[in-house]
């Protein structure tokens, strides 16, 4: 087993340490992205004319390849984790703004009108009504951002030793230790799946009002079909991520 988990000394981290570093480099940007995206989305949902230009800018930013982004930043932030985390923050932001805006826009106009009629101000309405209802869409965006962030951190290895688990790829090649490469790939993939699973769990806990699981979804579909249970579409509970693949259009 040691050939898989003995870390070369130049990495200055144990296996567990690398995992911690990887998660930090991948997930802090998602958190920052979320913190920036929320107020931005609020502005976009209040002033709808503002959304189109924001969407354009985010689309363009998302198109910039990570490696290109890293190397351009090298000149400013040097060989540091910041160089990796800034682009990842931007990518997260780019995924989250449309997720939040589309999610809150999808809130039924009746619900919004009811909240307004009860005297909610627009900020309070956004935070207390629209955001919670948009949680499934936002969580879908978060999952996509977190998983792609975890994958992209590895690319940081190319610009220096900033790839956390990705650095193992480089070391595996120069020291001819193929097991390190397998360790890197498998660990990164497992991290992504675990984080994704935790986010799904968080969503279930955050949205107790939503039907969960296959049977519940079917029951909900049945209840929604007023007259006949004709061919109930087995509603995929996480139908949203697909829409998000295209959120940056």
């Amino acid at each position: 087993m040691n050939q898989y988990f003995d870390m070369p000394s130049d990495l200055q981290h144990s296996y567990v340490g690398l995992i911690g570093l990887h998660l930090q480099e991948a997930l802090l940007p998602v958190l920052f992205g979320l913190l920036i995206a929320l107020p931005l989305a609020l502005v976009c949902s209040r002033f709808s004319w503002f959304y189109a230009p924001v969407l354009w800018v985010t689309t363009v930013l998302y198109a910039i390849p990570s490696l290109a982004f890293f190397v351009v930043l090298l000149d400013y932030t040097g060989d540091s984790t910041t160089t990796v985390m800034i682009p990842l923050t931007v990518y997260s932001l780019v995924l989250l703004v449309p997720a939040i805006v589309e999610g809150t826009r999808a809130v039924s106009p009746d619900t919004v009108a009811a909240a307004t009629a009860m005297g909610f101000g627009s900020l309070r309405r956004f935070v207390q009504v629209e955001l919670p209802i948009a949680v499934p869409a936002i969580m879908a965006g978060l999952r996509l951002a977190a998983v792609s962030s975890i994958s992209l951190v590895s690319v940081g290895a190319i610009i220096g030793n900033e790839g956390a688990l990705g650095n193992l790829l480089h070391d595996g090649q120069i020291y001819h230790r193929d097991p390190l490469i397998i360790t890197s790939v498998v660990t990164t993939a497992v991290l992504a799946i675990v984080v994704d699973g935790l986010l799904v769990l968080a969503q279930v806990l955050l949205t107790p009002w939503q039907p969960h699981g296959r049977r519940a979804a079917r029951r909900a579909a049945r209840a929604a079909a007023v007259d006949e249970p004709a061919a109930p579409r087995d509603a995929v509970t996480d139908a949203v991520p697909a829409a998000l693949e295209d959120a940056v259009r």
Binding site: I64, A189, A192, I193
Partner: protein, 223 residues
């Protein structure tokens, strides 16, 4: 030196405009990798997505597959394929690129077909359309903008990730970045980065144009 100076150095260097390491040749390489990977991914993802979306089956298997595919680190996979398959032309690079592109194409196509308003589909069946006719004459034209969005998303990621293929000694714009980093020729690094970003933006443009051409005005403006 700031970025503009680097760019000026890079683009005014005549040696960067012809030969095997010239921009036109690297551009062709980059487009070739990306187009082949995208075509293979589309050949896998589109039919499966259309079929599962139309029949409404396999949604859970699909989302599990997509989660798995997204979790694969492309860079790691690229290196792994190289050590397993050796330097067998472009094959080691194609595998991660295709793996990267299949998930968005497959999932978006599936969901795009599923999200088509059920009323016209019901009407089409009721008028006596066969199942393939319903899919290709009713569902597909309406789902087309979303499907193109999935393809575009995949294309952008492929163009972006194809840059990394230079790490395993392949061509494309990534060459400038990898070689520049190794030789500390920072103007090459920045030049390559700008070229690849430009190509990604051009990809968006191409998809926008395709959308204008193939999506019915009734769908485009009707949403």
């Amino acid at each position: 030196m700031n970025i503009l100076n680097f760019l000026n150095t890079f683009f005014s260097d005549g040696a960067n405009w012809h030969g095997a390491n010239g921009i036109p040749h690297r551009l062709l390489e980059h487009i070739q990798y990306s187009a082949v990977a995208l075509a293979i991914a589309a050949a896998i993802g589109l039919p499966i997505g259309l079929f599962t979306g139309h029949t409404g089956r396999g949604g859970y298997a699909l989302s599990a597959f997509a989660t798995g595919a997204r979790a694969l680190p492309s860079f790691g996979l690229l290196v792994l394929m190289t050590i397993w398959l050796g330097q067998l032309g472009t094959t080691p690079a194609m595998i991660p690129l295709v793996a990267l592109a299949v998930a968005p194409i497959l999932v978006t196509t599936h969901e795009a077909i599923r999200s088509v308003d059920p009323a016209p589909v019901d009407a089409a069946r009721g008028m006596g359309m066969t199942s393939p006719s319903v899919l290709f004459q009713v569902e597909l034209p309406v789902a087309l903008p979303l499907i193109l969005g999935g393809l575009r998303s995949a294309a952008i990621q492929v163009v972006s990730t194809a840059t990394i293929a230079a790490y395993i000694s392949l061509g494309g714009f990534g060459r400038y970045i990898i070689d520049g980093l190794a030789s500390h020729t920072y103007s090459d690094v920045v030049g390559g980065a700008v070229l690849v970003a430009g190509l990604a933006l051009a990809t968006i443009g191409v998809f926008w144009l395709v959308g204008r051409l193939v999506v019915s005005p009734g769908v485009r403006r009707g949403r």
